[in-house]
Symmetry: C2
Subunit: 581 residues, 2 copies
Amino acid sequence: MKASQFLISTLKEAPADAEVVSHRLMTRAGMIKKLGAGIYTYMPMGLRVIRKVEAIVREEMNRAGAIECTMPVVQPAELWQETGRFEKMGPELLRIKDRHERDFIVQPTSEEVVTDIARQEFRSYKQLPRNLYQIQTKFRDERRPRFGLMRGREFIMKDAYSFDRDAASAKASYERMAQAYRRIFDRFGLRYRAVAADSGAIGGDLSEEFQVIAATGEDAIVYCPDSDYAANLEKAEALAPRSDRPAACAALVRTPTPGKSTCPDVAQLLGVPLATTVKSIVLATDRLDGAGQVAGTQIWLLLLRGDHDMNEVKVAKLPGLDAGFRFATAPEIVEHFGAKPGYLGPVGLKRPVQVVADRDVAVMADWICGANEEDFHLTGVNWGRDLPEPAVVADIRNVIEGDPSPDGKGPLAIERGIEVGHVFYLGTKYSRAMNATFLDEAGKPQFMEMGCYGIGITRLPAAAIEQNHDERGIIWPDAIAPFTVVICPIGMDRSAAVREAAETLHDRLAASGVDVLLDDRGERPGAMFADWELIGVPHRVVISDRGLGEGQLEYQHRRDSAATKVAASGIVDFLQNRLKP
Amino acid sequence: MKASQFLISTLKEAPADAEVVSHRLMTRAGMIKKLGAGIYTYMPMGLRVIRKVEAIVREEMNRAGAIECTMPVVQPAELWQETGRFEKMGPELLRIKDRHERDFIVQPTSEEVVTDIARQEFRSYKQLPRNLYQIQTKFRDERRPRFGLMRGREFIMKDAYSFDRDAASAKASYERMAQAYRRIFDRFGLRYRAVAADSGAIGGDLSEEFQVIAATGEDAIVYCPDSDYAANLEKAEALAPRSDRPAACAALVRTPTPGKSTCPDVAQLLGVPLATTVKSIVLATDRLDGAGQVAGTQIWLLLLRGDHDMNEVKVAKLPGLDAGFRFATAPEIVEHFGAKPGYLGPVGLKRPVQVVADRDVAVMADWICGANEEDFHLTGVNWGRDLPEPAVVADIRNVIEGDPSPDGKGPLAIERGIEVGHVFYLGTKYSRAMNATFLDEAGKPQFMEMGCYGIGITRLPAAAIEQNHDERGIIWPDAIAPFTVVICPIGMDRSAAVREAAETLHDRLAASGVDVLLDDRGERPGAMFADWELIGVPHRVVISDRGLGEGQLEYQHRRDSAATKVAASGIVDFLQNRLKP
C-alpha cells in the first residue's frame, strides 16, 4: 500500500470531549470520526485495525467449532417480548416503530434471535452441541456515551451462543470458548487477565471476563500474584477473618463528634485507626400486595468496617435482599434510628431493623459507630455486651489490597482493567422463556443448555491503546497494527535512488506477505515521523541518500529510543526476524 | 470443512410466502431464515456466499483506488435535514428517536454522512480525487417487502462515493468505477448487462445499471443484438419515425363502440390493427400560490398509439410537466372532455387542454380515438383536418421489441433483468446542499463533484439463483458458491477405504486452496445428493467402495446430466483443471 492511495488524516489537537487517551489518539490518528454522541465512522486507518481484530477472532472461533452467521440489526419486538426483555430493559434498548407502527428494536445483543433459530433448527439431541456466532453491528443507547469507542452507542461485537443437551456438555462448550478466548487475547499481543465474574442468578463459577490491563480501566481486577486467582471486584470473596473476636476491653462511651459524619473524620478526631470504626448503611425492601402496592417495608442496617466498601452484588444475593432492594429514604432513616445519616449505629434500636454485619465487623471488639444522635458517636462498642450478636453475618464488602487470596496463596493485589470479552454460562434461562427444546434419546423434550460469549471488537483497539501508548502516540502490537511496517523515504521526490530503494523494499515486503505502507506523500521527515508515531505503526524503516551511500537503512521499533542501522541488502531478513510472533 | 462441523439444514418445502424461485431455494437450502417481513438471518451456508461476493467487490474496489471505511448504521437526523431528505423521503426511511427524543435514521444509503466526512477531510484540490466506500448493513422500510433477499428491508450494500475537483475528473472517476463494476460482474460468472439508466435531474448519460439477466427480473432491459446499445426501459429512446405522415384517405366518422373502452377492444370490434388506434391519457399539473394552495390547474392530454405504453420518466422531463404531475381526477376529466375515461380524444375539445402527441402518433393518418361521448369513437381522424396539429410532439412512450435501435444498428430486443449495481454521476447536488467545498489552486472554494456507486451484496446471490437453477435446486457459479467442491463418500461409516480416500482428498484439496466440503454426515446417497443439488455446489466427487475397487472416483458438475469416471490418482489435477477460471 502506498500512502498516496490511502487516507491519512492526522490532527494536532484532540477534540474537547475526548476524556481518555484512546479517544484522543484514535481521533488524532484519523482512525475514527465522530458522527454523533457515541456514534463513529470507522475511518480507513481505524477500519484496518478493526478488520485485523475481526480476522483473529473469526479464525479462533472457527477453530473452536463455532459457526458464523449474521443476524439482523433491526429485530421485531415479538421475540423480545417472549423473554420479557422488551419491557424489562431500560431506555438503552433502542426501540423503533416501522411504517406499520409495529415494534422493532436495534439489536444490543441477540439471545432471542439465536434461541429462535435454535428451537427451529436443533430438534434432536443428535444435532447438539452447536455454537453459532456473528460479528455484527450493535446498538446500546447509553445514557452517557463517552470515551470514544470505549463506551459508544453503536459498536461491533462478536457474539457467540452455544446450545447443549445437558449442563455437563454446556460446561464443556463453555470451557472450549474460554480456551478460544485465551488464544485470541494471546494473539492480540496485549496484557490481559481472565477473571472470574459474577454469574448472577445462574450461580456457579461459569462466568469470566477478559480484562485488558490498563491504569485507566473502569474495572477493578483482583488477583493473587502468587497464584492463578483472578476475579473482578464484584466477585472476589473477602475471606472470613482467621482470628477470633478479641475480648472487650473498653467501656461503652457516648462521645461528642460534632460535624463528624464520616468514619475517616471520626477516626481522625478521636486519633484512632480507621479500621476501628464501623459504618452504617441503611437499605429497604418493600413487600407488595396482589395489586402491586407496597404492603410493608423492611429496614436493613448493613455494618462495614470504616475502611471497607459495600459490594452491592454480594448484598443482592443475601436472603431477603435477593428480590431487590433500595437505599432507605431520609424519612425512613429518621423514623427508625431517630437520627440522620452520619450518626447511625446498631446500638439501642427502638424499631425493628434487620442487622447484617460484614464478617470483619463480626469479629471486632471495642469499636466505634454512630450513637443514633446527631453529633455523637459511641466508642468501645462490643457485640453481646452492648447490643445483640448480629442476626446475619456475611461477606458484603469489596476486598482490598492485601486481603488474603480466597485460594489461600497469599495477599491479593488490585489493578485496573478494561473488559473486552465475557464468557457466560446461561443455563436454561432463555430456552425456558422461549420454549427452546430438543428431543432426547427417549424422545422427550428437554430445554437446551446455553452459553453466551462476547468480544467487543471495536472496544478492543481502544483498550489496546490505553495499554500501549506514549506521549507521541499509539504503539500497536504487531497483530492489530493498521500497518505492520512503514517505509519512510527521505527526499523521495528528489532522489531516484531513494525512490527506487523504497519501492523495491515495499514490493519485496508486500510480496512476502508483510503488511507494509510506503509513505510517498513527500512530507518532510519531521512531519512524516510524527504522523507514524502518532498512528503507532510498530516497525519503521527510514531510507535516505546518506544511508544508501553507506549501503544502510535505519530501522526503529516504535518502542525504541533510537534507530538501528541495518545493511540495505539484509533488511528483508532483518524485518522478517523482527516480525516473527 | 467437514459437514459435521457445519450447519446444513435443508427443507423439503418452501415457505408459503416465497413467490420467486430464489426465495424458495435459498430458504430450502438453509441459506436464509426469515425473522420478520423483509428481515432475514444469513445462515452459515448463505453467509459463505455473501462473504465471497463481498471479497470480490472489496478486491476490485481496492484495485480501482477506492478506500474502505465503515459509516454508522444509526445516523443523526441533522445531516439528513441539511439535504432535506429527512423530510422529503417517504416512510421507507426508518426514523428513530433516541432516549433523549432526538431524531435518528437507520441508513438506507450514506450520501449525507460521506459528504460530511469529505467537507471536513478534503480541504484542498491536492487531496482530490478520492473515493470512499463501505460494505455495510442498510435498511429501507419497503411498503411491501417480498421475494426474500431480492426486495428485503434490511440488506447489505456496497456503497462508494467519489469526490472530484471538476466535472471532467468526476467523469473519469465514474468511468473507473464503471470499469471496476464490469470486472466485478465478470468475476461473479453471471450473464449481465450494463445498461444506460436515466440520470434524473443531473442529466447526461452518466448513469448505468448493472442488470443480471433473468426471466423473472422486475426490470425490462432494452438492447440491440447487433451493437453495444443497452438501456433500461425508462431510458431507451424511441426514435422519431423515419417516414412522413401519409395523406388522409378516410372520412371522419362517429362510430358506435358500446362498452368498448380500451384500444384493443375497439380495434377488435372494428377489425383494424391496434396500431391504428390512439389512446388518451389525462394528466394534471397544479399551480400553487405563495401559501402553497392550489391557484390553478392545467389539464394535459397525452396521445399514444394503442400498442404503445406511456413512459413516465420521459413525460416527467417535458417542459410544464417537469415540476411534477398527477393523473387527472374523474371530475376533472368529465369537466374537460364531457365524457368518462375510455371514450376520450383530442377532437372538438371545448375547454383548454394541453395536447402532447407521441412522435409516432404525430405521423399517423386515418386514426381512431374516443369521441368524447360514452360508447362512441371517431374513426378516420386526421391531424390538421379534424383537429389542430399537436402543440407538443415528443418521445413519451416505452420502446417495444423491433423498434429501431437509437444507435441505428438494428431492431431492439427486450429481456428481463435484476438490478444489482448502479453507478451514478451526482454532480454537485449533495455538495451544494451541504456546502462541501475545497480550495482550488487559486485558493477559491469550489463545490466537489460527486458520484455514487452501489452494489446490492445480498441481492446478488438471489439474482444469481434466478439466473442459475433447475428443478433440483441452485447452480452456483464457482466464484460465489458456498463451497466449490463437495465430496460425497458412500458408506463412509462402513468402509475404512472410503473414509480414508475421502479424508485424503479433502485434505489435499483444502491444502491446495480449494474450498471443499466433505459430507461426513452419514446420509444415504439419495438424500446426500439431493441436498447438494439443492444447495447447488458446482463440483461433486463421489467416492464408493465399488469405484475405489476400479481405482476410480465419480465426478459430476452440477450442470452435467451424468457422472464422469476419473482415476483416483488424477482427481486433484482433474479438479484443478476444472476449477480454472
